[in-house]
């Protein structure tokens, strides 16, 4: 490898459209002639902007421009994958040859047996103006200054006020030797508010994040005042909160981001990547009860403007609404192309990747527990002594199915009443899916989704988690 500042790279300004057909067909033909069972090419361009305001100042404006391609070759149950950010013809052919060589294949003069690419399925044609319609840097900066000013008005003892905005525009083109030829434009935007309140030795950090897909006007419609009021109020509660006393408790998890428990505890274990590597306890459990009958869980990519929604997945397949668990009974796994090939579970439009540098894998989209018949107060009213988890932090699941997630804001429940005068901090919930899913015994009727990010084998992707208020009969709460 040698570092060269002027290689013959195709300009990132080249549009990804029908004009790519000859180049892609040449690559696919070469791959199939070499003996591949299937060849798939993912090409992308992206345009990213992030802006940060601290107190009254804009302290960071960071644009990022990118492009690249990932080429995946399948042969039998194996696959080889090569990625490059050089979109020139020779570089792409080199990447293909690399991927072929991984499987012991090499280019040949044999005739290839494939029918050529189908007509371009262009999901992006109606989205061409999205990027231009997004807020400019001055508009973004002004909005963020409004946000930090609102925090100043609604918080006390504030040491740090931050507001952030990120816009991620991505153009993708997927072509495969099964004829798949599809294009899409994606737009994801996020906003964040963070404050640090400090009073003597007491400190509280409160964050609020929101995100929306495919809505150029998201930032303009961001309810800055409401979010600042909510964050300021939480900071006021949590600044003097006691640390939670460790133990096992019944808990009520609030709606929206409370859904991270299902995402971590169960969702990952229903991806075929986990079936492939033998790391899910549910591999042979379709049709069996794995959760309380109160639990119905869904993963879909269709909800308008939700963070995990998409017109097509990263393998060119239209997304679906996939019922994972119906009344406690396991129905389905999330599957991608490789998952279908290796486990037999049909594709669900769940093949996703962070960018061209990763091969797609079966991943969640918008994942939520369906609403139940109860009101949130009924869940709280059923608990003598427990914990109400209002705001969740991040979490993770390990290779043995053991999950954990942090609780940012919590309150005690005593004698069926929510004690907002008794906030607690420092809680971490731990458990494993097999044990906890049967303990989700009550679901309220207030389902809501929350935007988030999920990191796994194919990188960090946009998802939503969601649920109504749910009650878990007993879970271990790590604390002091």
């Amino acid at each position: 490898m040698s570092l060269c500042l002027d290689p013959p790279v195709t300009s990132r300004l080249d549009p990804l459209n029908e004009g790519w057909r000859p180049r892609l067909e040449e690559l696919l033909t070469a791959g199939m002639a070499a003996g591949a069972d299937l060849v798939e090419i993912f090409v992308e361009r992206n345009d990213h902007l992030s802006v940060l305001a601290e107190q009254e100042r804009i302290t960071s404006v960071s644009p990022a421009l990118g492009c690249g391609a990932g080429i995946r070759v399948f042969k039998g149950n194996c696959d080889g994958f090569a990625a490059t950010n050089d979109l020139s013809g020779p570089a792409l052919m080199t990447a293909l040859e690399q991927a072929l060589a991984m499987l012991g294949l090499c280019r040949s003069a044999n005739a290839s047996r494939w029918q050529g690419l189908a007509a371009l399925q262009d999901y992006g044609s109606v989205k061409e103006q999205w990027l231009k319609a997004c807020p400019t840097v001055p508009d973004s900066a002004e909005r963020l200054r409004e946000a930090t000013a609102a925090l100043e008005r609604h918080g006390r003892h504030l040491q740090v006020r931050r507001a952030s905005y990120a816009r991620d525009w991505q153009e993708v083109l997927v072509a495969a030797s099964d004829g798949t030829f599809a294009r899409d434009l994606r737009l994801h935007q996020t906003t964040g508010l963070t404050l640090l309140a400090a009073d003597g030795d007491h400190r509280a950090t409160i964050s609020r994040r929101d995100g929306r897909a495919d809505d150029p006007h998201f930032l303009a419609n961001w309810p800055v005042e409401d979010v600042a009021v909510s964050a300021g109020r939480s900071a006021g509660k949590m600044l003097y909160a006691d640390f939670v006393k460790a133990g096992d408790y019944p808990v009520v998890l609030a709606n929206r981001f409370g859904g991270v428990i299902f995402h971590e505890a169960c969702g990952h274990l229903l991806e075929t990547t986990q079936v492939e590597q033998g790391s899910t306890p549910f591999a042979g459990n379709i049709g069996q009860t794995i959760a309380h009958p109160a639990v119905t869980a869904v993963d879909e990519g269709l909800s308008p403007n939700s963070f995990g929604s998409m017109a097509m997945d990263d393998e060119g397949m239209a997304p679906q609404r996939t019922v994972l668990i119906q009344d406690g009974v396991l129905q389905c796994f999330l599957s991608d192309r490789a998952g279908e090939m290796r486990t037999g579970h049909p594709r669900t439009g769940s093949g996703r990747r962070q960018n061209h540098g990763y091969p797609a894998a079966s991943r969640m989209r918008n994942t939520f527990i369906a609403p139940g018949p109860h009101k949130p107060k009924e869940l709280i009213g059923s608990i003598d002594h427990g914990l109400y988890c209002k705001q969740m932090g991040g979490g993770s699941v390990g290779p043995t199915g053991q999950f954990n997630f942090a609780v940012e804001e919590a309150y005690w429940i005593e004698n069926g009443c929510l004690r907002e005068d008794k906030p607690v901090k420092g809680a971490t919930l731990i458990g494993d899916a097999v044990t906890v899913l049967p303990r989700i015994s009550m679901c309220a009727d207030d389902n809501a989704l929350a935007a988030g990010f999920c990191g796994s084998v194919s990188g960090s992707i946009y998802v939503t988690v969601g649920q109504p208020h749910v009650k878990v009969d007993r879970i271990t709460v790590g604390g002091r």
Binding site: I58, L65, G80, S396, P399, T400, G401, K425
Partner: protein, 438 residues
């Protein structure tokens, strides 16, 4: 670049570029599973406009049009540069560089990677009848080139190679919960990797967790493995980060220098150039040479990590320390931590102590650490010790405050061990809350 910048009226600029070639393999129960290769380039362009404000843009398109587009974008962004504390070119970016003498190791063919990984997986699977899979495994090799240039004539270049092996087996016995643990090895090349050590460690650690039991919730004396203690220090790196101090999100203040922030038993140095640091950087994102920096000496805070901008803002004679990342807002982070500890309470020993917890690895640091508050609540894998006998803990969390944790270090045991993130002995801490899963 120079001509384009000049044409755009940009007299001051710098550029950081990273190029990489990565290959990796993964196997599954005796069969090759996935083979990957990736070529990548990333460039970060930073420009100063005629008002001295800074704008940046990153791109992976190093063609002439691509770099021109990035320059133009950075120039536009500079209109919104931070007027209060704009960074400058590092005055040390042209200082002589002491080379690290890192011989580049050859890249092996993918088939050889596969053969070695298949053999490693086979040995792990044969290590115990309860080990049925190694769900997370991989053997990867990488070539990296880094370049830093600026309009003042600085030119830095470095080439490195590295290789990584990771093995995370999963073991399961009838009627019992699945258990797992793993091991990682880094080296300059695949031929230098300690394959046998990684295989043995992954196998032994996994087997050691098969016989597990719940632990009673309570306050324990805890021994952190080198890896676990270093992970905790990294998570609270803002304590020694001058930018975090200026931003008000660090637990430290400018006046904290010289204060007792940890037990006198502890001395912590950041040493990017340590021989154990694989692919160690010779310079940071601003072109400043890396160096060994004493952070905590005998428990007292001695130095902060500095960029060019924070050193100037502190105005106390500080200089950039070689820990900066190029960006619109320059960030700082440790490179490779070297923990030295005095023995302290010699009665505490992993071989003889009873009723104490040995933490092997911490999880979910991204979620369970509140760096600006000082608190942590983290799941861990570990053992309850009883006279040298280790009994795996079923599932548990450890919680505490980093300031209190560092002050309550009561012993350091054994020679410092090299890990991917630094070097440390086993570190004993009193009074941490352990929550067990009932």
């Amino acid at each position: 670049m120079t001509e384009d910048a000049s044409r755009m009226g940009l007299a001051t600029w710098d550029l950081g570029i990273t190029c990489g070639n990565d290959t990796s393999v993964q196997v599954d129960r005796g069969e090759p599973k996935q083979r990957k290769a990736r070529q990548s380039t990333t460039a970060m362009v930073r420009v100063w406009n005629d008002q001295g404000l800074v704008g940046i843009t990153s791109t992976n398109d190093l063609s002439t049009p691509g770099l021109r587009a990035a320059l133009a974008s950075a120039q536009q962004a500079s209109a919104f540069g931070d007027a209060q504390s704009p960074p400058r070119l590092s005055p040390q970016a042209r200082d002589p560089l002491t080379p690290l003498h890192q011989p580049r190791q050859p890249t092996l063919p993918m088939q050889m990677l596969l053969e070695r990984l298949l053999d490693a997986e086979r040995q792990v699977l044969n290590g115990h009848q309860a080990i049925s899979t190694v769900p997370y495994n991989g053997l990867a090799q990488a070539q990296r080139e880094r370049l830093y240039i600026n309009s003042a004539g600085a030119l830095r270049h470095q080439s490195t190679t590295s290789a990584t092996l990771w093995l995370y087996p999963r073991a399961e016995e009838a009627g019992r919960k699945p258990r797992g643990a793993g091991a990682v090895r880094l080296a300059a090349g695949v031929d230098d990797l300690d394959l046998e050590g990684c295989i043995a460690e992954a196998t032994e650690r996994t087997i050691s967790h098969l016989d597990y039991a719940p632990i009673d919730t309570g306050v324990y004396t805890v021994c952190f493995s080198p890896e676990a203690f270093l992970n905790l220090l990294w998570a609270f790196g803002s304590m020694v980060n001058a930018q975090a101090v200026l931003d008000g999100i660090s637990l430290s203040r400018r006046s904290s220098l010289g204060s007792q922030v940890a037990s006198p038993l502890l001395t912590v140095t950041d040493d990017a150039r340590h021989p154990g640091h694989v692919a160690a950087p010779e310079f940071d994102g601003e072109g400043t040479p890396t160096r060994r920096l004493l952070l905590i000496e005998g428990g007292r805070l001695r130095h902060f990590l500095h960029s060019e901008g924070t050193a100037r803002a502190f105005a106390d004679g500080s200089m950039a320390t070689g820990h900066a990342n190029l960006g619109a807002k320059v960030t700082l982070g440790p490179q490779w931590l070297d923990v030295e500890g005095q023995r302290g309470d010699s009665s505490l020993s992993c071989e003889t102590s009873s009723g104490v917890v040995l933490i092997d690895s911490l999880s979910a640091l991204h979620a369970g650490v509140k760096a600006s508050q000082g608190s942590f609540s983290l799941p861990f894998d570990g053992w309850l010790l009883s006279g040298g006998e280790r009994r795996s803990i079923e599932a548990a969390t450890v919680a505490g405050d980093i300031r209190s944790t560092l002050q309550h270090v009561v012993a350091c045991e054994g020679d410092p061990q090299c890990t991917p993130s630094g070097r440390s002995p086993h570190v004993w801490v009193e009074g941490l809350t352990i929550t067990g899963e009932a």
